[in-house]
């Protein structure tokens, strides 16, 4: 068992290395040189003809795009001003101008619209013909032969996203593995988190003081991960609150969040054996305008004077307004968010702060549910993999193997 996980790591690296060789080969690097800014004197003779060499579908997309390549004598590029690219649906059909390309740039990326009704719709799997014109503004231009047919096609799999797929699979396996082992009753150690341990104390304090508890879910939607983590914590808090018979106030920003929070609190009260204590007036909607919500919550704070404030979820600029108002009424404040920009304000103005990932972990901590704890272990392994990859990557770059960076690149 012990060697399985390290073995995974090695296998992962090998797999990535293989996939990358494929990706690296597909990448064409065509870098334009400096454009000649001086206009050449007018040539009477027409410039040489461009020769279309290829028309390729761009990989990893939904089609509707073609790249046209052509050859042109390097020494003649100074004589022409630019290239024009034309497209038609049959070799002798009507050629329409698609666009231009600088004189030193021998390719054109024909981006068609994917909407059938759009003017420049480029249909997939259809024969398309191209010609390229080397244009001299004040003299005769020359035209290439018609080339084609070329096809644009959509792909079933985006090869540039292979690293993401590998990561998804590996991570899902880790999670399932640890959840399984947790189910079997394997004891998992988790280190203490100050913010979590303060929860009980904070609820107790409010009970002693006979003051309510304010729980703010932030301004996220019910689908934000931070809000979902906060629902679980709300459930635990509500249960304790019901047991202690303290008041709980949950003002909501999003209507769906409100519906969910009502369900969460209601079932927590039920679990605590006090369903009669619950009322929909405890969990209510304020408004879904950011600062109007803050104004409302501020008002609740200074009028209902909660002894404990929880700010757990998604927060933006309002974090500090809430935390400072809460501080002015002398409440104990426990905050947590995954918004990197707001963490400093909570750290500064609140008593306890769950930093980023700790917020997600908190639900597992409070519940002590082996299944949730198992996924914490999987997260730790994810971090370990990251650290290994990082160390490996830095070494690889130090020894001049830039290919490693290609492995972990997502090509869009």
């Amino acid at each position: 068992m012990k060697y399985i996980l390290p073995g995974f790591l090695v296998a992962l690296l090998l797999l990535m290395a293989l996939s990358v060789t494929a990706i690296a080969q597909e990448q064409d690097e065509t870098v334009g040189e400096d454009v000649d800014t001086l206009m050449q004197p007018i040539e009477q003779e027409p410039p040489p003809k461009p020769v279309i060499t290829a028309g390729e579908d761009r990989p990893n997309d939904n089609g509707h795009k073609l790249t046209i390549y052509w050859d042109y004598p390097q020494e003649a590029t100074g004589k022409i001003d630019y290239f024009e690219v034309y497209r038609a649906e049959s070799p002798d059909g009507e050629f329409k101008l698609r666009g231009t390309s600088p004189s030193n740039y021998f390719e054109y990326f024909d981006i068609g619209d994917s909407d059938e009704n759009a003017e420049d719709y480029l249909e997939n799997d259809k024969d398309l013909y191209y010609k390229v014109v080397a244009v001299v503004e004040d003299g005769p231009s020359s035209e290439s032969d018609v080339a084609g047919p070329y096809h644009a096609v959509g792909q079933w799999f985006h090869t540039g996203k292979v690293p993401v797929m590998i990561a998804v699979i590996i991570f899902a396996m880790f999670t399932i593995y640890f959840i399984q082992s947790a189910r079997k009753g394997k004891d998992l150690f988790v280190r203490p988190l100050a913010g979590i341990e303060a929860v009980d104390e904070a609820i107790g304090r409010a009970t002693e003081m006979g003051k309510p508890i304010l729980y703010v879910l932030g301004i996220g939607t019910a689908a934000d991960i931070a809000t979902i983590a906060s629902f679980t914590i709300l459930g635990r808090v509500a249960k304790k609150v019901a047991e202690y018979q303290t008041d709980l106030i949950v003002p909501c920003y999003d209507a769906i969040v409100m519906s969910v929070a009502q369900d969460v609190v209601k079932s927590a009260y039920l679990e605590a054996g006090r369903p009669d204590q619950y009322s929909d007036d405890q969990v209510f909607f304020v408004t879904n305008a950011q600062f109007a919500y803050v104004a409302g919550v501020n008002g609740i704070m200074v009028r209902d004077l909660p002894a404990t404030n929880f700010y757990l979820g998604y927060f933006a600029a309002e974090s500090l307004i809430l935390a400072e108002t809460g501080n002015s009424i002398g409440a104990i404040q426990i905050a947590g968010t995954d918004q990197v920009t707001q963490i400093p304000f909570f750290v500064v103005a609140c008593d306890y702060t769950l930093i980023g990932e700790e917020l997600y972990a908190a639900s597992a901590y409070l519940g002590r549910d082996p299944l949730l704890l198992g996924s914490l272990k999987a997260e730790d392994w994810g971090k370990a993999i990251f650290m290994v990859l990082l160390a490996f990557g830095v070494l690889a770059v130090a020894f001049g193997w830039e290919g490693f960076r290609e492995i972990v690149r997502v090509n869009l």
């Binding site: 993401v164 990561a167 879904n288 409302g296 971090k383 990082l390 990557g393 972990v408 690149r409």
Partner: protein
């Protein structure tokens, strides 16, 4: 009449007179904006009836504002307009001739299911709609976070520790890169949940929290500038647009 009550009435009379004078001199619109601004600022002193007024007005108006935006911006063009285009022909003539999209009946049903929670015994039905929303975004988040927060970050942090520029070995840049590398590693160690923070691991976690704290201090200090700019903007409104005291 008690003294506090007396003061309150005097203040109230003063506010009303000031409001009237301002309407007469500067026009109603800018006056309303200015007084509401002042009402909100009064919260800094303490909670008071004027703040309460502004707050409650703000809540009511903003809730209705977003409801209307949601209705005209989403429901009409994206739901009714797609289900049965002629229905919205009166308000959005551009959509009238689009073909109907019967699929759009699904969100309508889910939306109605969601409203079922108002019915006393059918609350559980609304969970279908919630499951739909959460499921959709959970899947989306899974790949999005893995890509941008995990794989992309490895790529960004994998750089050469040793930097040499045209002028030779760049000591400062090399040191900076080493600090970033160690900072990221130690920061991650701090976030380990299933391992006790002691020994070498604990030292790593300690360095991690130090780096985090320096960052929090710096971000805090950095934001001061942006917040002061906001206040300057409000003050320009009050003293410039309203009172005309700024040239």
């Amino acid at each position: 009449m008690s003294k506090t009550k007396m003061t309150a009435w005097v203040v109230f009379a003063f506010v009303i007179i000031a409001f009237a004078v301002s309407v007469a001199l500067k026009g109603a619109l800018v006056t309303v904006g200015a007084f509401l601004t002042l009402f909100i600022f009064s919260f800094l002193y303490k909670d008071n009836p004027y703040y309460k007024f502004a707050e409650h007005l703000f809540v009511g108006v903003s809730a209705a504002y977003w409801m209307c935006m949601g209705f005209w911006g989403t429901m009409v063009p994206n739901l009714f307009g797609k289900l049965y285009p002629p229905m919205v022909g009166g308000v959005l003539p551009a959509l009238k001739d689009n073909p109907a999209e019967p699929f759009m009946i699904i969100p309508l049903i889910l939306g109605i299911l969601l409203l079922m929670r108002l019915a006393p015994n059918a609350g559980w039905i609304s969970r279908w709609a919630l499951a739909f929303i959460v499921g959709t975004t959970a899947g989306l988040n899974l790949v999005r976070y893995l890509r941008s927060d995990f794989i992309q970050q490895i790529n960004n942090t994998t750089f050469s520790l040793y930097i040499s520029s045209a002028a030779g070995f760049d000591f400062g840049q090399t040191m900076s890169n080493i600090v970033i590398f160690i900072g990221v590693l130690c920061g991650l160690i701090y976030f380990f949940f299933s391992k006790e923070h002691k020994g070498a691991f604990g030292a790593g976690a300690r360095v991690g929290i130090i780096v985090l704290m320096v960052t929090f201090g710096a971000s805090f200090g950095y934001t001061v500038m942006a917040r002061i700019s906001l206040l300057v903007g409000r003050m320009q409104f009050l003293f410039g647009d309203w009172l005309g005291m700024i040239k």
